[in-house]
């Protein structure tokens, strides 16, 4: 049974259930709504919920579990010696899957009969050419074991899908019958419906937890795989980043961390003074008109997608810096310090521009939250505005401002597009901001894009890098929120 038919039937059952439940409730009260415990619609919804929720739950569960189980069973069919040296069972399994979908497609387009697809033997017929007819390209000739595995895969999938249809429909009908039979005028339908809705609400709220769990678990799992292939001492304490896809790579996070921190430092060196002075001016000096015009304009900078900043770094700021610091006697300064457009300075400056509104609007809120009485006291002693700000307002707001800067720093460390396009790809320890360097996020992107083999340390290192990044930014955030919260409590 095709999948969309199953869904359509479920929807039809739900609709029928609504009508049946409502009608039965009304009939049990002789058509008098006042005799019912709940409004008639609740009886209908009660039936709909008990028809659809278990059935759909089973459907989702089945769709997730079935491929896993079948995969497991079929991969046991594959003999160990079939897996070539340096390759993994996963690669062979992806061959099996591709072959199976190819057979499905061939049957659907009547190139093969269902009978042929199930009994075909690659020794006897040219399966590759036949599948080529329907546009499924196979990399190499099909080995008999793979073919048999693919046929088993298809059989298991087909019977699993059939079984799934029966189970889901069975659950739906049982739910329908049970809930309709329970419907009577004394049944507390509203309470039942509200309990179910509440369960849905709680489930939705738990998705946030599931996401975090998913992030942590998926990265932990692959990181463990990575550390079983690569020594953790080299990862954390080594000094060289030199991935080599033929193996024997040196994968150390330190040079990447250095690049990340250096670029973030430059970004903050740009963003913090500008953002902080902008916030001070906006909250202490600016009139209403200036404020209502400058603040939203500054915040536009935060709404611009990072890909725009990345392009700006690569094509505008980078070449401009090269014009200043590079090109020998052709350049503005006549020096030759900068070779290419990508450099720490390029990425840092552009990232700094992006962070200005983060620092300014957070600090603005915090400075505005300093009680007016503190300022009035200072003015009363004869201090000027700037003296008040420097000696009274800023010290009072300092914890909050530090929190804002930490948030901006965590943003800078996790930023990807600007550094991918503006920072370069060379991992090294250097203090020269005009050289190109690389960061954690850049390496994650480059190790995980393109053809990746999830059994090699060169790919898996990206997960270890991701986990480090996650822990780093999470730590900064928690610290920042803690500082901000403690500070808020002081004045409230």
């Amino acid at each position: 049974m095709p999948f969309h038919w199953l869904i359509l039937i479920l929807i039809a059952l739900g609709a029928a259930g609504y009508l049946a439940g409502r009608k039965r409730a009304l009939a049990s009260a002789d058509g008098d709504v006042r005799q019912l415990h709940s409004l008639p619609a609740y009886y209908g919804w009660n039936v709909v919920i008990s028809t659809l929720v278990p059935a759909l739950g089973a459907l989702v569960l089945w769709l997730v579990l079935q491929p896993l189980l079948i995969e497991n069973r079929v991969s046991n069919l594959l003999p160990q010696e079939l897996i070539p040296e340096g390759s993994s069972a996963g690669l062979v399994m992806s061959d099996v899957r591709r072959l199976a979908t190819g057979l499905d497609k061939a049957v659907a387009e009547n190139v093969l009969t269902a009978q042929q697809a199930n009994s075909m033997r690659p020794e006897l017929s040219d399966i590759r050419a036949r599948l080529g007819e329907v546009g499924v390209a196979l990399g190499s000739d099909v080995r008999p074991e793979v073919m048999r595995a693919a046929q088993a895969y298809r059989r298991a999938t087909a019977s699993g899908t059939r079984l799934m249809g029966f189970c889901v429909l069975g659950l739906a009908i049982i739910g329908l019958v049970l809930s309709v039979s329970r419907t009577s005028r004394d049944f507390w339908a509203r309470n039942a419906v509200e309990r179910a809705v509440m369960a849905l609400l709680i489930a939705a709220a738990s998705i946030a937890i599931l996401t975090t769990l998913g992030i942590v678990l998926s990265m932990l799992f692959e990181t463990r795989n990575f550390f079983s292939l690569h020594s953790w001492t080299d990862f954390f304490f080594g000094t060289t980043w030199a991935p080599n896809f033929r193996g024997d790579s040196e994968l150390s996070i330190l040079p990447l961390l250095w690049g990340t921190l250096y670029i973030s430092f430059i970004a903050l060196a740009v963003a913090v003074p500008i953002g902080l002075f902008a916030a001070i001016y906006l909250s202490e000096y600016a009139g209403k008109a200036t404020r209502s015009f400058a603040k939203p304009l500054l915040e536009i900078l935060a709404g611009i997608p990072t890909i725009v900043y990345g392009l700006f770094a690569l094509l505008t700021v980078g070449p401009m810096l090269v014009n200043f610091f590079g090109r020998g006697s052709d350049g503005v300064l006549g020096v030759d310090w900068m070779a290419g457009a990508t450099s720490v300075l390029t990425a840092g400056v552009v990232m700094g521009i992006m962070l200005i509104p983060f620092v300014s609007s957070l600090s603005d809120d915090i400075i505005s939250a300093v009680p007016q009485s503190l300022r009035d006291g200072s003015f009363g002693l004869g201090a000027t505005r700037s003296e008040t700000i420097r000696q009274v307002v800023l010290p009072a707001a300092l914890p909050g401002i530090v929190g804002a800067i930490l948030l901006a720093a965590s943003r800078a460390i996790g930023e990807t597009m600007i550094v991918v396009m503006g920072a370069g790809a060379i991992a090294k320890f250097s203090l020269n901001p005009l050289e190109s360097m690389t960061t954690i996020t850049t390496r994650i992107v480059s190790q995980l894009t393109g053809d990746t083999d999830f059994a090699s340390p060169e790919t898996l290192v990206a997960f270890a890098l991701g986990l480090t990044l996650f822990v780093l930014t999470l730590g900064l955030n928690i610290l920042a929120l803690y500082i901000v919260r403690r500070y808020r409590e002081q004045y409230e």
Binding site: R97, L200, A204, A205, I280, L298, G414, T416, I444, T449
Partner: protein, 450 residues
């Protein structure tokens, strides 16, 4: 001993006047002015950056919307296209684009002879000023109108990206010295055609609506297919994140008891909002692609990853909107016998709807511009050449997305693609500005102050 003459205190000068500032006051006032000036400078730098960014984008990108076109009369020779002469479509189809190129070259030759264009170029070299797309365009026309074979028809072809760059001032005779794709003679030829009015810059709708093209044909690359990819992703994000986000916020704001579990959820949500976007990409790769075997590069997967990213934004703004509805509304509903669930769904939620919608639009705008997670689930690195035919294909077939397409163009070495990347940014920003404007209007128009 008296303390009256403490040297640290400013001594009030004997002939002091309120109207004349002493040195220390002057210094303090100067410091005040300086401090204020720093603020003005900081804001000016910020605004200047914004202006620079916008002018850079507009000045670099607006060129992408106009493209050079060459008008040419091509004789559709029967001897080349339909040797049998019976207009059998199957036979005509057998002529590949290589068979059409000589027709175009021939057309240039005729043109040069008729108009008296002086050039030392061979017919093939003249043909090279056109896009590599031209032959395919001609073939499509012939296949659609086989009855026109044997006649002469007027065509408008895209000019080669180098010629287009010359027309726009990006390419000059000096800059092409090492360029194998175009020669100075060809540029001279182009100049003469411009004088004849046969090459002109026109608005190019194919950039907005068309599909991406391969490395060799920057002039034919378009943004349309990636817009469709983004559209499908945004559909997925909307369908998943709005109900889940609203349900989660209702629970947390209206029903959740103060237990450790709800505390954990709340801390979690605020932390998820600050997780770097690339981490969500890693999650998508590990869970959706490696574990669940969903297809790479599919807008469905992209949408699911972006949903996880957008959820915290939507939850935070929805909770703010729910909080803004005064408790008296809930009390009134409870007072006339509604259940708590009824009071929320019948009264609080409708009143909070404008705020929720505003937050959702802003969250969607954020998701629309996000690139990093899309790199990891494979939405770059290939040419998105066909628009999907149908909703299922739109969700599951490999496609690109607007920011991913921009990144893809920025990676290609040809400067002609840079112009298109900037042009793509203009389109992306138009969408973002439109979405944010709608959000602001919604807020202004429907937000109620209690």
């Amino acid at each position: 001993m008296t303390h009256a003459t403490d040297p640290a205190l400013p001594v009030s000068t004997e002939n002091g006047s309120l109207l004349r500032q002493d040195a220390r006051t002057r210094r303090r006032n100067a410091a005040e002015t300086r401090f204020k000036l720093y603020g003005v400078i900081a804001i000016s730098i910020g605004l200047l950056m914004l202006v620079t960014l916008v002018t850079t984008i507009v000045s670099n990108g607006s060129g992408a919307f106009r493209q050079s076109f060459v008008t040419l009369d091509v004789e559709l020779l029967e001897s080349k296209l339909d040797k049998t002469g019976d207009r059998d479509l199957e036979q005509i189809k057998k002529v590949s684009t290589f068979g059409y190129a000589p027709l175009i070259n021939g057309a240039f030759e005729t043109l040069a002879a008729e108009q008296g264009v002086e050039t030392a170029l061979s017919a093939k070299e003249m043909g090279e000023i056109l896009s590599k797309d031209a032959a395919a365009q001609l073939r499509d026309y012939v296949l659609a109108n086989p009855d026109r074979i044997g006649t002469t028809a007027e065509f408008t072809f895209l000019a080669n990206s180098r010629v287009d760059g010359y027309m726009k001032g990006r390419v000059s005779r000096d800059s092409i010295q090492n360029d194998k794709n175009i020669s100075v003679e060809q540029l001279d030829f182009v100049d003469q055609l411009v004088n004849l009015g046969l090459i002109e810059k026109k608005f190019n709708p194919a950039f907005i609506l068309g599909a991406d093209a391969s490395d060799q044909r920057p002039e034919a690359a378009g943004f349309g297919v990636s817009m469709i990819g983004s559209l499908f992703m945004m559909l997925v994000v909307l369908v998943l994140s709005l109900p889940i986000g609203v349900a989660a916020s209702i629970y947390l704001e209206e029903f959740a008891p103060k237990t450790w579990w709800t505390d954990v959820i709340e801390v979690n949500i605020s932390n998820l909002a600050a997780v770097p976007s690339i981490v969500f990409g890693i999650l998508g790769l590990a869970v959706f692609i490696n574990t669940m075997h969903l297809p790479m590069s599919a807008p469905l997967v992209g949408g699911m990853v972006l949903t996880l990213m957008t959820l915290p934004t939507i939850i935070i703004s929805t909770r703010a909107a729910l909080k803004a509805v005064p408790p008296s509304i809930r009390d009134a509903a409870l007072g006339i016998g509604a259940s708590r669930m009824q009071s929320v769904f019948h009264h609080v939620l409708p009143l909070a709807a404008p705020g929720i919608l505003t937050g959702t639009i802003i969250g969607l705008a954020q998701a629309l511009g996000e690139t990093a997670p899309l790199l990891l689930i494979g939405m770059v690195g290939f040419v998105a050449s066909n628009a999907p035919d149908g909703i299922v294909a739109g969700l599951l077939d490999p496609n690109s997305a607007m920011p991913a397409q921009i990144y893809e163009w920025a990676k290609r070495a040809d400067p002609a693609f840079y112009e298109r990347a900037w042009g793509g940014i203009i389109i992306l920003l138009v969408f973002l500005v439109a979405m944010n404007t709608i959000a602001v209007i919604l807020r202004r128009r429907f937000e109620r102050r209690w």
